[in-house]
Amino acid sequence: MRGPVGWWRDPWRKPRILVAILIGYLLWSLLPVIVAVLFSFNNGRSRTSWQGFSMRWYWGDPVRSVWHDASLHTAVVQTLKLGVLTTAITIPLGVLFAIGIDRWHGRLPEGASGVMLLSFVIPETLLAVALLFLITIIAVPFYLGTTAQVIGLVTFQLSYPAVLVRARLATIGRQYEEAAQDLGASPLSSMRRVILPMLTPAIFASTVLVFADVIDDFVIVRYLSGDSSTATT
């Protein structure tokens, strides 16, 4: 059979419809952002009509460019500070949590695992408001500001490394650890010297994910910020 009907019924034809959907999706997903980025090189203040190419908003304009605006500097520095601090706390905490929960059997770890998954899906606004209440209404030893923001962000992001590492642990299986223990290593030592190096891709992926997520987080950061010096971009 030739012709369109034959083409449709051919079991070995190329999946052009799916390819078209994929390309359409990628364009729809990325083009608006690319257009916005292009307009950041616009010579005028408009975001919709092109007025010539310039680096005015990056370093040219003496008052309003990113290079010269001091409040933007504080915001960028605060963003990076939050990113580094949060990632540094979240990754060890999450990885150890995942390893411990994976090997520990009982009701408490199952409950903890459930709570951790809950913190994965909870809307960020709820967590931010709950933490805001915690900090402003109870006498806790820290105030709104960077400490509160870091605590909120860590709580929100803790589930990322935990989920990724647990998934990877499930794929790795127990045979390497058991082989190491057969050869004389203690459980902790076999974990440290065998499993942890095998988890490096998952740990790296979760570091990158957590950092990227914290850098553009604006809900928790906004609710838990103290004064304007802790506002982020």
Partner: protein, 300 residues
Amino acid sequence: MARRRIRLSPWPVLSLPGIAWLALFFLAPLYVVLAIVFGSVDPTFRTPAPIWNPLHWQAGQLTYVLDRIVGSNAVFGPALLRTLVYVLVASTLCLTIAFPVAYYVARLSTRRKGLILALLIAPFWISYMMRMLAWVNLLGTDGLVNKTLSLGGLFDVHVDWLSGRSIVVILGLVYGYVPYMILPLYAGLDRLPQSMLEAARDLGANRARAFVRVVLPMCRPTIIAGVLLTSLPMLGDYYTNDLLSGSPSTAMAGNLIDQTVLTPGETGYAGAFVLLVLVVSLVPMLYYVRSVARSELTAT
């Protein structure tokens, strides 16, 4: 009788810091929300006065909010109902967009797969704010959308997209959350055994039947996980509505929380909204947790 040496297992110690953190900074704040919702309001300063003992909880603020939802003075009801509708529609749209994309990429095996995966993950690196602002640019009165619709001057199209249009808010939600659905769908569809599909085709099913009767049932848990992972965070979204539609006629639950939390005297109402959203999403959340736990038991 030989004495059994008690070996202290190291695993609980490893996970204790994480458990303590979650208890302190996740569970305790949720209890504080409960204490505030069922507490009272200081009459002079209009600040919330939490009541810690569950036996002394007062339902005053909660009944105030519930009255305003379903009673005669239903000012909050429309926003909450609208949130459910928006999230439902947006999740369905996300699924119809994400599933073909994830299905194709999961079954792709060329060397371009890495590049396509990188492009699919790219939105995670682009701030949510930035992606919404990109659409604000495009949808402005002299933005690219109006310019394209007017076909370069043929028609005079000056639609004001950014003021109180539900369809724009829904599209914003879809645009923002579709990447969150593609990744779990891809991860689940990746594990689909190709041999089953080929067996179905060998036994005479055509493409549609093979898909509906073999692939869909096999990836049902994946679809459920993807939908929950996308729709539950959407319930608390306020930013999309703030940016893409300045009007309160498209307000969502997140906007209600946002408006009441810092208003003196209404903090308890914010807590009540938080509680309501939590309760509405708790059942699907628990279902998700249980389905993940169960799938871990039966994972191959």
